[in-house]
């Protein structure tokens, strides 16, 4: 794993939004992503987990430049993507793709499936002739387990699971190296989720695509990811191999989060000890000065409220917590 080349590197990336604080209060800043450093390697799946509002979707959108970062550098194959222009930017856009959560909103209802999958090829001028594109579309439909005669149908004729397959086929049309999957299965039924997960895993085995898998279903994230990053209030608090993180979480937030996963086993599930998490996630407009988790942390000390712990290597993982530094 360690020998693999780094595909995407985030260096101290921040994404802030400016919101109006109301009359007389002027403008205020929402720190959605605040100083995140991460690496995604070739051919791996990095799972990004955290509660809603922690900034995980914003981080994903920032990597593909759907949101512009306020500070920091995003390196894709060593090149800073925030400085790309013209042809280089077009190539970056071709090599990084995104699958969205809601397959009912991400497909144009007035285009046929064939047109939807062909559109990115046309935009990027791939596969020369119309006939070659048609053949590629058929091939892609088969890759995601749909039939070639679906090509002339419209999105409303498909179920949620089938639509998500269409979204996957569309992203694959450009032969990307990196796909950001933003909650791709949370709108689907349980029996359909496993179908989509298996398709994503098979495609990765065959083509070596890297995924950033954003989700709040912690069981499925563990299943698909090689490594996991845990995000809280715009910060990464712990990163490591997924087995390591799930077996022996170190950061108090990771511990609490993982202990809340419902276990599909009646005896283990009913006797599980959950680490209670008091209070609520603070507003990213007015985050705590010290550790982002200090307001809810059961082990918070004095310095946690004033200083911010940095993500630092601790054995087989990186974690940001003062209590673990001794």
């Amino acid at each position: 794993m360690d020998q693999q080349k780094v595909l995407v590197a985030l260096e101290d990336v921040s994404t802030y939004f400016t919101v109006s604080g109301g009359m007389l209060r002027g403008k205020r800043t929402v720190k959605a992503v605040d100083g995140v450093s991460l690496e995604i390697r070739e051919g791996e799946t990095l799972g990004l987990v955290g509660e809603s509002g922690c900034g995980k979707s914003t981080l994903g959108r920032t990597i593909v430049r759907l949101n512009e970062p306020t500070a920091g550098r995003i390196l894709f194959e060593g090149k800073d993507v925030t400085e790309l222009k013209g042809e280089a930017l077009a190539q970056f856009r071709r090599e990084t793709q995104m699958i969205f959560q809601d397959p009912y909103a991400s497909l144009d209802p007035r285009m046929t499936i064939g047109e939807i999958i062909r559109e990115p090829m046309v935009i990027h001028g791939l596969y020369g002739t119309e006939k070659q594109r048609e053949e590629k579309v058929v091939e892609l439909l088969q890759t995601v387990g749909l039939k070639p005669d679906h090509i002339r149908r419209y999105p409303h004729e498909f179920s949620g699971g089938q639509r998500q397959r269409i979204s996957i086929a569309r992203t694959l049309a450009l032969q990307p190296k990196f796909i950001i999957c933003d909650e791709p299965i949370s709108a689907l039924d349980v029996s359909i989720q496993a179908q989509i997960i298996n398709i994503l895993k098979r495609i990765q085995r065959e083509t070596g695509i890297a995924y950033l898998f954003i989700a709040h279903d912690l069981s499925m994230v563990k299943h698909i990811s090689h490594r996991i990053a845990v995000m809280y209030l715009g910060h990464i608090v712990e990163v490591g191999e997924s087995d390591t993180i799930y077996r022996t979480p170190m950061h108090p937030y990771t511990k609490a989060l993982l202990s809340a996963i419902p276990i599909p086993d009646p005896i283990r599930g009913k006797n599980r000890h959950r680490i209670p998490l008091g209070g609520e996630i603070p507003s990213p407009i007015d985050p705590p000065a010290g550790c982002p988790f200090c307001t809810r942390c059961p082990d918070a000390e004095e310095r946690c409220f004033t200083q911010r712990p940095q993500l630092s290597q601790r054995g087989d993982r990186a974690v940001a917590c003062f209590a673990l530094e001794e």
């Binding site: 509660e51 299943h223 276990i263 009913k270």
Partner: protein, 334 residues
């Protein structure tokens, strides 16, 4: 144990422009006093519709047929009330009082233009003789019970001032207002984060234990079911295909659909294994198959499965499953 809910042969059909959607087909079930019954199924399996019919909340176009529907021994079968007004009067007395519902979406359930206090007081004022003052005190008590900090100030706030988890707590407080005997929770935590989900589920269990009510929990999350429910009904294509205690369903599943569901989820405490998804998608209830609804996705389907619906096979006093394989196994043994 007494049955608090007893339903026999319930069917619900919706006439639509495309044809008749047979959402619930001939299901029988019961809820024991003091237990949590889980109803598991995919979207469109009929789990919500069958529960809405208990509450009398189906739209007027729904065609309901039912042999028996009793709540605390009292007849609430809409088919036995030729006069709609009489049925409405009976249900008025039960809904929000003896039987209450917790809905999935905490944002659409609450009235955004009404203060929280008034919304909690509404069922209290409707069903008890308490004065406004007393109802307000009761509301404060309920808010404290479901874990809303500083209820005295929060009671005069509007729903937008609360987070998703807090709103779900308010909905639970409203459902609990009159100490219902039965709480129907329709996907109460689907919209919530896992940490908040765990808090809400613990709260449901806590109020069930303190009020000795029964709970019907509708969900598609098998983890939630395993950690909360005493008994489980598995629904598929408008039918209850398997019913059993939590251990029977998870450790000795009988129906191929139940087995399929269990093999396409992962347990984060165990080592990774390949997920085995169920191929295909659920049947179209406009034209439900004559035989078993699962036949097109079942790896073990036989000829008869396409032709006729199997009878429920009793595997233990609490465990029943509708699958032809049981009949076939019995014949093999003979």
């Amino acid at each position: 144990m007494d049955k608090i809910i007893d339903v026999e042969k319930l069917s619900v059909t919706f006439p639509t422009e495309q044809g008749r959607v047979q959402a619930v087909r001939d299901v029988s079930f019961h809820v024991n006093e003091g237990e949590i019954l889980g109803i598991v199924g995919e979207s469109g399996s009929g789990k919500s519709v069958s529960m809405y019919s208990l509450m009398g909340l189906l739209p007027g176009t729904a065609e309901i047929s039912c042999e028996r529907m009793e709540f605390e021994g009292k007849d609430i079968n809409v088919c036995h009330f030729p006069d709609g007004k009489e049925y409405a009067a009976v249900m008025e007395g039960i809904r929000g009082n003896r039987m209450a519902m917790i809905f999935q979406d905490p944002m659409t359930f609450l009235n955004p233009t009404m203060k929280i206090g008034r919304q909690i007081c509404e069922p209290i004022l409707n069903h008890t003789g308490l004065s406004k003052e007393e109802a307000r005190n009761k509301a404060l008590e309920l808010m404290a019970m479901v874990g809303i900090p500083s209820p005295e100030t929060r009671i005069d706030q509007y729903p937008f001032e609360f987070s998703g988890g807090m709103r779900q707590r308010i909905i639970i407080a409203i459902a609990l207002a009159n100490q219902p005997r039965l709480i129907i929770a329709d996907e109460p935590t689907t919209a919530l984060d896992v940490t908040i989900q765990a808090q809400v589920l613990e709260l449901i269990k806590y109020v069930k234990d303190t009020m000795n009510s029964s709970v019907i929990l509708i969900t598609h999350d098998l983890g939630v079911v395993a950690s909360l429910c005493d008994r489980i009904n598995i629904m598929y294509g408008g039918k209850i295909v398997e019913t059993g205690t939590d251990r029977e369903i998870f450790y000795e599943p009988n129906h191929p659909y139940t087995k399929g569901l269990l093999s396409c989820i992962c347990n984060p405490e165990e080592d990774d294994r390949e997920l085995t998804p169920i191929p295909g998608s659920p049947p179209d209830l406009l034209m439900p198959p004559a035989g078993c609804p699962f036949v097109d996705r079942c790896g073990e389907a036989m000829k008869i499965c396409k032709l006729r619906m199997p009878e429920a096979e009793t595997l233990s006093p609490t465990h029943r499953s509708m699958c032809w394989l049981n009949e076939w196994k019995k014949r093999q043994e003979k």
